[in-house]
Amino acid sequence: MRPVYLQGRGLISALGGNLTQALATLAAGGVAPQRITLPGGTEWPCFTLPHTGQDWRERARQLACAAAAEAGLSGTGLADRRDIPLFIASSSLNIGAIEIEAHHRLGDSFHCADEVAAWLGWRGPVYIVSSACTSSLQALLAAVRLVGSGAADDAVVLGIELPNLFSISGFAAMQLLTPTRPRPLGAERDGIALGQAVAALHLSAQPARWRMRGGSNIVDGRDPTGAIPETVARMCERALADSGLQPSDIGLIKLQAAGSPANDANELEGMAAAFGTMPPLVTLKAALGHTLGASGAAEIALLTACLESGVWPRADYAHDPALRHQLASARPAAVRYVLADILGFGGGHAAVVIEDTRVGTE
């Protein structure tokens, strides 16, 4: 396997229309989630994309194109190379359009990919990865393998989670949502808040600052909705082995930690088993919400930008002492290796390890 690098990234989220805006918003304390009203009248918080007044598809087109452009994939650039694989990672795909367009009949979900490819002028192979919350990290692992093996020189992961009521109502029905705001690892954490985002990651064999070292993906059938500590530990062990690293090499863990009472605890229990002495911890769910299938791509984009800039998400609430671990209050110094995980529906446990090649060896 040859080295694979993060050549470009783009993110549109509740924090802003690009990564520069996201960092500025984060530095100013972030944003509060908006309130979304469901047909039955209940209201739930959600980290929404900026409204533009356009119809769903036009808005989706602009968001996809903007994220791709920020990742350096616009115009006569890479999109004109026919051999670049595109992985569209999403939980809800175009369900938001189907909700609005009463005449729309459920059909072939790949129509969504056809639309996105047409918006981007994409001519390479296109895949949808729709494995719930771990979709983007699964797509990232597939893209890294394609580029690393030499089967492709570049690949792109586009995480898309667009406005819809389907996901919010489903998570509300399962009683997984907080009524107020998410407090990951917090003493008063009472659920997650969903988020909307479009994120693009351009992977390439051409050297760049961030190298994708490896990762792992484990589906565990014992719990179709939550994380299992021993599987979290195994996910970490496999990701480290795939990366050729030891637990002590990891300088930062980007957690799933979304504010779920049970899942946050299960994740930390698994991490502690894998790492022993825990590295500094961070989560981006209180800033972005849980952007489901887009979360892996969205959080890698924001995390690397945070590590480069020093802007750091704040946790302005009391941590849960029972968890025995807290989120880092500032960027840790000289982090070379980061493990980032996403846990989710379908027994999904996925992690990637990324390396800041500008941080030298001791």
Binding site: A151, F166, V219, G348
Partner: protein, 203 residues
């Protein structure tokens, strides 16, 4: 000087591509010892084909480092339709929402196959493209690939493991029918796409 790694060869060890019998749900329940509980029709279809495929491969359980990839163009369409209808009135039923998540077939599969490992829902109209992608990610214990649809009912599966056999006569694979055909015994991943070969072993 650039070194060229040998192209991995994959041997088809099991397949399930027969039309589903009318009573496939009863047969699945008999095989599992009970009716699957609230996993949805798509997951039941996946279980039926995957278990038969593994039996055809004469494996009682899937090895831990095998990978599973499932393609479903329409996904859990029935449950999605139900949730959309329920959502117009009030909150959907929790089990309806879970069943509307196509990826929920993965934990059901993992449990039935007595396995945990790398599984994903990857959707493409090009079956050879999915096969090529999976071949890039699979290790020595290979892969289990499925193409599952609710309407019309389809559950097509193929199991492959790495092989050291010397095989000639590869041709480019055209479609799913060719990939899972009983004539097809080997796959290999080429730069221009997936190639298949019949049972022509040479020493």
């Amino acid at each position: 000087m650039e070194t060229t790694q040998p192209v991995p060869l994959w041997q088809v060890t099991g397949r399930f591509c027969a039309p589903l019998p009318e009573d496939w749900r009863n047969r699945l329940a008999a095989r599992l010892g009970q009716r699957p509980r609230r996993i949805g029709i798509l997951a039941e279809l996946a279980l039926y084909g995957a278990l038969d495929c593994l039996s055809d491969a004469q494996e009682g359980a899937l090895p831990g480092d095998a990978i599973v990839r499932v393609c479903s163009l329409r996904g859990a369409a029935t449950a999605i339709g139900e949730v959309l209808a329920q959502n117009r009135q009030e909150l959907p039923m929790p089990f309806s929402f879970l069943q509307s998540q196509t990826s929920q077939l993965l934990p059901a599969l993992a449990a039935a196959l007595k396995w945990q490992g790398d599984a994903a829902i990857v959707v493409t109209r090009d079956a050879t493209g999915l096969a090529q992608l999976a071949a890039q990610q699979a290790g020595a214990n290979g892969m289990l690939l499925g193409w599952v649809e609710e309407l019309p009912c389809q559950s097509v599966w193929v199991r492959l493991v790495r092989s050291e056999a010397k095989v000639t006569g590869f041709v480019a694979a055209q479609d799913l029918t060719e990939l899972v055909s009983p004539e097809t015994r080997y796959w290999r991943s080429g730069r221009d796409g997936l190639e298949i070969a019949c049972a022509i072993d040479t020493l």
